[in-house]
C-alpha cells in the first residue's frame, strides 16, 4: 500500500519542523491517540484507539524518526501491534519545502502493510482506511499548526 499527499501549512518551515518532532503535537494529530511517550532519541510510543467502522481496537505503536535532515525531511517509521487484530507497519517520508516565510509545503509518501486478521478478512478496506488515516493526520496537523500560529 502506497500513498502520497501534499499540504500547504501556514507556518514557517522551522516551526513546522519543530511541530513534527513534538510528541504533544503528534499526539493531538493522531486520531484516537491516548498517549504519546518519548522512549528515546527520536523514538516514541503511542497508544491509539483506532476505529474503522465496527472494528475497534487499541494499538500500541512504536514510532521512530529516521534519516533526519533538519529542518527538511525525515522518515517516520511506525510499527503497530494490535493484539488479536494483527499488526501494521509502515513509514512516512515527510519533506518540507519553504514556500514563503510563513508558508511551508509538506509532502509525504507513505508505504505500509498490515498483517494478521485485518489483512486476512479486511483487505477490501485497507487502502481506503490507510488513506483516511493519513489524510486525517496531516489535516489535523495543518489545522493544529495553523491554530498555534493564530491563523
Amino acid at each position: 500500500m502506497e500513498q502520497s499527499g501534499e499540504y500547504t501549512v501556514s507556518a514557517s518551515r522551522e516551526r513546522v519542523w519543530e511541530a513534527l518532532n513534538d510528541p504533544e503535537v503528534l499526539e493531538r494529530c493522531v486520531e484516537g491517540c491516548r498517549s504519546m511517550t518519548v522512549t528515546g532519541e527520536g523514538e516514541f510510543e503511542a497508544v491509539v484507539a483506532a476505529k474503522v467502522g465496527p472494528v475497534k481496537a487499541t494499538f500500541t505503536a512504536a514510532i521512530e524518526l529516521q534519516d533526519v535532515v533538519a529542518p527538511e525531511s525525515y522518515r517516520l517509521q511506525v510499527g503497530v501491534k494490535g493484539g488479536a487484530a494483527g499488526f501494521a507497519k509502515g513509514s512516512a517520508a515527510v519533506q518540507l519545502a519553504e514556500c514563503s516565510r510563513d508558508e511551508t509545503r509538506l509532502t509525504y509518501h507513505i508505504e505500509g502493510s498490515i498483517g494478521g486478521k485485518l489483512a486476512q478478512i479486511g483487505s477490501r478496506l485497507v487502502q481506503a482506511a490507510a488513506r483516511k488515516m493519513a489524510a486525517s493526520f496531516f489535516e489535523r496537523f495543518a489545522v493544529d499548526i495553523g491554530r498555534s500560529q493564530g491563523v
Binding site: A84, G115, G116, K117, Q120, I121, S123
Partner: protein, 781 residues
Amino acid sequence: MANETGIGAAVKRKEDARFITGTGRYTDDIGAHGQTYAVFARSPHARAKLNGLDASAALATEGVVAVFTGADLQADGIGDLPCGWTVHSKDGEPMVVPAHPPIAVDKVNYVGEPYAVVIGESLEAAKNGAEALEADFEELPAVVDLASAASADQIHENVPNNQTYDWELGDKAATDAAFAQAHHVSSLEIVNNRLIPNAIEPRAALGEYDAASGLYTLHTTSQNPHLERLVLAAFVQIAPEARLRVISPDVGGGFGSKIFVYAEETAVIWAAGKLRRPVKWRAERSESFLADAHGRDHVTKAELALAEDGTFLGLRVKTLANMGAYLSTFASSVPTYLYGTLMAGQYKTPAIYVEVQSLFTNTAPVDAYRGAGRPEATYVVERIVETAAREMGIDAAELRRRNFIAPSDFPYETPVALTYDTGDYEASLAKALEHADYAGFGARKAASEAAGKKRGIGFSCYIEACGLAPSQVAISLGAGVGLFEVGEVRVDVTGSVTVVTGSHSHGQSHETTFAQIISEKLGVPFENVTVLHGDTGRSDYALGTYGSRSLAVGGSALIKAIDKIIAKGKKIAAHMLEAQEEQVDFADGTFTVADSNQSLTFPEVAFAAYVPANYPLEELEPGLSEKAFYDPPNFTYPAGAHICEVEIDPATGVVDITSFVAVDDFGHIVNPMIVEGQVHGGLAQGIGQALLEHGVYDETGQLVSGSYMDYTMPRADDLPSFTVDTTVTPCTHNPLGVKGCGEAGAIGSTAAVMNAVTNALGVASVPMPATPETVWRAAQA
C-alpha cells in the same frame, strides 16, 4: 430380471436418511466427558524468527489448562510431519526435505503456522489464553513470488535455492529433435492459480486417552484414517499403531485437503495423552483458509511442435511448482508423477519432455486438491493444443481428432511412463459435439455479437490416471506407502451383510454403491447391507480415499472378498445338498446344483455356516466372513471431452457460461445418479478455478483472500445446469471394469472454460481466474 438395487441402478442413497434429517455425526458433533478445548496461536508473519515465547500471562488466564510449544512436543519425542513420497532430481539426488515440526520451534514460515497450542476449560478461555501469549518475532523478508523464489532468500537452512527437487521426465534429446523439424511451434506461458480447497466442514479433531488401557482414540476429519494412524505412530511417534485408533466419522467433504496429516490433530492427540483429558479442536473458517493445504500454484512454459498437417511432433513443458513453506504429506508427488506423466493427454505425441522445479515460499503448504496434478497437466495440454489449432487455422475439434490415440492403438505406451489400457476418445468428443450443438455455434455467436456480447467455445479432451495404486509402480517412483485397498464381507447369521472397507466416504456414497455391489453379487437385499468405513478399529490397514480410487481399488477388493464368500458358500452348499462342489452354481442369491431342482438360499447357507450342524467341519472352518486385499496391475484412465460455451459482457468483463457439456468415459458405472453428482461437483470446482477462485498472498506474504468475503466460492447463481453424458470402454484390468469418476469434472473443465474465454475475446491467453477485471482488460486490448 435386472436387480433394481444392483450394479448400474440409480439407487437412492442410504446416507441421505441421516443427512437430510440433521442426524449425521460429524467430528464437531461429538463430545467427550470433561473435554478441553484447543486453540492454536498462529503466526501473523510470513517469515520470522521466534526469539522467545512468554506464556506466563496465558497460563494465568482464567480457565487455561496448559500451553504447549513446539519445544514441548520435541522434548516429548514427537517427530516431524513427514512427506510420504520421495522424488529424485535430474541428478539422481533425492529431494531436499526441510524439518517440519507440527508446532513451530524457533521460526515461522507462513502466516497461520501454529507456534503454540493453548488448552482451555472452554473455547473462550483457550482463545483468551492464546491472545495473552507474548511471542517475540523478528520479522524476516518473506519469499512469496514463485517465479523468483529460487533466487530469493533461503527459507530453510538445508534447502539451497529454496528448491526441493528439479525433476524431469521424458526424452529431452528426442523432443529437441522433434522441435527442430517442426513446421509450427506454439508456445504459451501459463499461471495455474492457487486454490483453497474449502470443504464446507472445517477440519476438526477430538483426542482422547484412556489411561487404563493406554489406548489413544482420535476422531478427526480424515479421508484416510489408516494413513493418519500410520503417520502418527511411525513418524510422529504418539504411540504404536496398536494403541492408536483413528476414527473418521461423517466427514463434510475433503477434495484432497483432508488426506494429509496436519499439525492440529497431531497436537490434539498428543495433548490428550499429556493432560489425560479429552482435547477438542475445530477450525474456524479463517483458520481453514490459512492452515489447510492449498492446491495448484504453478508457473509453466509449454511449447508444442506440429507438422504441417497438424500432427503433434513434440511437447516441451517447464514448470515451477509452489510447495509453500513445507512439504505436506504428498506434496512432492503432485507436480511430478501425477502431472508430468499425463502430458501425452489423449494424443500420440511421440516426444515429450517435462521439467519441474518445486520451490519453497513463505505461504501455506500446497498439496493435492481434487485432481492433484492432472488438472494442471490437462490445463497445459489442452490450452496449448487449442492455441495451436487457432494459430494454424485448424478447427480445434479436428486438430484433436487428427492426433487422438485410436481404439486400435491400445494398450498404448506414452512417452511419459504410462500405459493406457483402453479408451475411445473420438466417441466421447463426437457425443459432446452433438450435445453442444457445435454446428450451431456460429449462429449463436452472431446473435451475441448483435447484442454487443462476445461468445466463445472451448474444448478440453482430458485424460487422467487414477484408481491410485499400483503399489509397486508407486513405490518404485518414490511412494513411501503401499496403495492397495481392503474389503471385508461379514455375512451375518441371518444372511444380512456387513461390509467393512478401508476406503472412506465423505460425499462419495460408499454406503450405497458398495451395498449395490453386494446386492448384485450376493443377492442380498440392499436394505440388509450395511457398509462400515472410516475406523481403524474396524477395518484392516488400507489407504483410504483419494485419486478416484475407492471403487476401482476398494470396490475391486470387495469383489475379491465376495468371490471368496461365494467359493466358501458353494462348498457349504455342496455339503448340505450332497453334491460335488463343481456342480454348485450361485446366482441371484441362490445356490443350485446343476441339472437338479435342489437349491439353498444365501441366508440358509449363512445360517449353516454359523450353526454348523450339517457342516463339513473337518474340511472347512465355520463362519462366513472373508476379506481380501487388492492391488491393481495398472492405473485406470478415465477420459472425456468437455465443451464450454461462454458469453462475455465486454463492458463489465462478466463471463456467463451458457452451456457446459461433459461426456466422460468412466468404464462401467455402478450408480449413474451418483456418478453424475460427482461430475457436477468436479465441474463446479474446475469452473471455479477458471473464473472465480484465487488464493492471493500480498507481497509480504499475507493471505488477502482469507475469507469468503474475498475468496470467491462458486455459488448457485455462478453456475449453469450441466449437460452430462458418458461413453463406456470398460477398464481392462479390474474385476468391475470401473475407472473412477471423482476428479474428472475438476480435471477437464478448467481448460474448456479458459479456451472458451480466450476464444470469445480473440486473445491468446487471459490470466486465470478470468475475473471481471481481467476479462475487461483483455476485452479492451
